[in-house]
Symmetry: C2
Subunit: 351 residues, 2 copies
DNA sequence: GTGAAAGCGCTAACAC
DNA sequence: GTGTTAGCGCTTTCAC
């Protein structure tokens, strides 16, 4: 245990159970309050001897500056907030980590929260962060309507949206090219001879899902292929729903010979379904995932870079915090098609 | 845009670029400061009419309570900190998410940071969280020496360690039974006829790695099998090192017929090595991981539950925060052997 | 080089 | 029901 109060000095000890303050340190070191503040913050103008006395008192008392008080005076908290759907999702975890890394370089702490894709919870989280006066926010929006953020933006909270655009709000934005990525993925299947291709993805209310559907339709149109509505299944990504739709599409009268999946979770579920099947079905998934290369067949994907998404978003954020007064930027990151086998399977029955 | 300042009322407008305060709201609503505080905090004793005027002013000004000031008075911040190795690691991500969920239920916000397995960084992060006066801390310790935390504990910061014990500090602790898990995993290989079994794992300075090695040795001793030192490779978990050690063990004169791997990252690397091999080598890995069941052969694992680790740790934390003055607890969670195929392969060459 | 005083925005305690 | 006052622990300003 660190020694908490000296005995016999006659100096006041900090309240029991509370924490020592600069005042306590000042009393113990027999200097003024401001001198302690100087030492704690590394400001110049303190003699080496005085500094030593202050440092000794700090150690003896176990003093730790109270940043709440500091923030109250200084205005800036040195922390940024990140709100996304689910921290544990393999797509968002590296994004979060990347934001944290950039924040660290800028001396800021990251506070993050999961919205669970619930607009009310997103709002609640964001406002809690604003009440804590984070200097900036990185948001993967769940809701459609972000007008609740207007007072915050007006008050100077730097805000960057990632992965999806916010509902009608001018702010920095970093996106992956979902349309182009999906189009190239589906075109890849077409190039390998497929004419009946299904798409399974997230709820079309989610921007990325809608864009990927648009990319699918564009690739089909490019090849002058018709799209049957039974080949399109966007919605809830619960494994049961996805598995049911996949099963439906690959069985029956004129089954699809290839599937395009809208994100990593959907892809994994579909891989499970296809593994049970006698007949091979080609597959291209949006999002890369670990072990995709070790499955049989290895899974061809349209890869995006979640770490870069986070890095670029954080970089934009700190550029704003450093005072850049430019108009909002919109950054679109490219995807990369990674052929591994599943996307190069030919149509099964010589259609 | 929300209207920022009324025109023609003659009331003071908040400073430009700053944020409106309760005082500003009070002026605009023509009530006292305390009345605003009552409304903002949902305290009783405000007439419906007054309340409406205050709420209107809040909306019009875009007021948001400044929690820094609030914390300064109240002492508690309503936030807890989590420090672990890497937020993006598939083992820690669900742990973090579980802590977040419990925190949310208790109305607290989670601030988390990655230590990157660097004791200095862990310390820096923890102290930054303490300066922000988090009410409690959940720590996956990277370092050996946690005496720097003593003043914080003395000041009443509730602290729970997870996954690994801290260096010489009495605090709540939630662990997985690494020893028992490893012992059962290796015993499983022995039961399937293996006599030359290798172990590849993390640096033995890490508590879980040391415990798993101890479990391995215990299982071998139980079966009266010798352990050659060339079968033991603990250290850096960089893929290159792990792959080199795995390759060394499964080739050469008297190769091992089975491997036990110390965590999910190591397991995945070893799976990659074994996939290149002509000869089958049995494998049991510590930690479950996604898609383990879809590999060929499917990977047998000793599963632990990272979500439960986080949940239990957070539960202990909030129990302390709610004032339980019990002595520190140590909780050990059991593991579960999940046979899937790779661990049931017989020794290859009829040894 | 050092320190005293004011005040950041809020809540607690106590008036009225 | 409502308002006034003091003060949380720090930084800013300015005086010595």
């Amino acid at each position: 245990m660190a020694e908490i109060a000296p005995s016999g000095t006659g100096l006041p000890a900090p309240r029991y159970g509370g924490r020592p303050t600069m005042k306590d340190v000042a009393a113990r070191a027999e200097v003024g309050l401001k001198t302690v503040s100087r030492v704690v913050n590394g400001e110049p103008g303190v003699s080496p001897d005085t500094e030593r006395r202050v440092r000794d008192a700090i150690t003896a008392l176990g003093f730790r500056r109270n940043d709440s008080a500091r923030v109250l005076r200084k205005g800036r908290t040195g922390s940024v907030g990140l709100v996304l759907e689910d921290l544990a999702d393999p797509f968002y975890a590296p994004l979060s980590r990347a934001v944290e890394e950039v924040a660290r370089i800028h001396g800021a702490l990251l506070i993050n929260g999961s919205s669970a894709e619930d607009p009310a919870r997103e709002r609640e989280l964001v406002l809690a962060l604003c009440a804590r006066r984070v200097d900036g926010l990185v948001i993967v929006p769940a809701g459609e309507d972000h007008r609740y953020l207007e007072p915050e933006l007006a008050a100077g909270v730097a805000t960057v949206f990632v992965d999806r655009p916010p509902g009608s709000l001018a702010a920095d934005l970093v996106l992956t090219d979902s349309f182009g990525g999906a189009r190239s993925g589906v075109a890849h299947l077409v190039a390998h001879g497929h004419r009946r291709i299904g798409i399974i993805g997230d709820h079309p209310g989610i921007h990325t899902a809608a864009e990927r559907l648009r990319g699918y339709r564009a690739a089909m149109a490019d090849a002058e292929l018709p799209v049957r509505e039974s080949w399109v299944a966007l919605g809830d990504t619960a494994p049961e729903r996805v598995a049911a739709d996949a099963t439906r599409m690959v069985t029956g009268e004129r089954p699809v010979t290839a599937l395009f999946t809208g994100n990593n979770r959907v892809t994994v579920t579909v891989v499970r379904v296809l593994a049970q099947l006698a007949r091979p079905v080609a597959l291209v998934g949006f999002d890369d995932f670990e072990l995709a290369d070790l499955l049989s067949p290895p899974v061809t994907v349209v890869a995006q870079d979640p770490g870069r998404l986070g890095r670029d978003a954080a970089a934009l954020l700190f550029r704003r915090l450093d005072g850049a007064g430019e108009p909002p930027r919109r950054v679109t990151l490219p995807t990369r098609l990674v052929p591994r086998g599943s996307g190069e399977l030919p149509p099964y029955d010589g259609e």
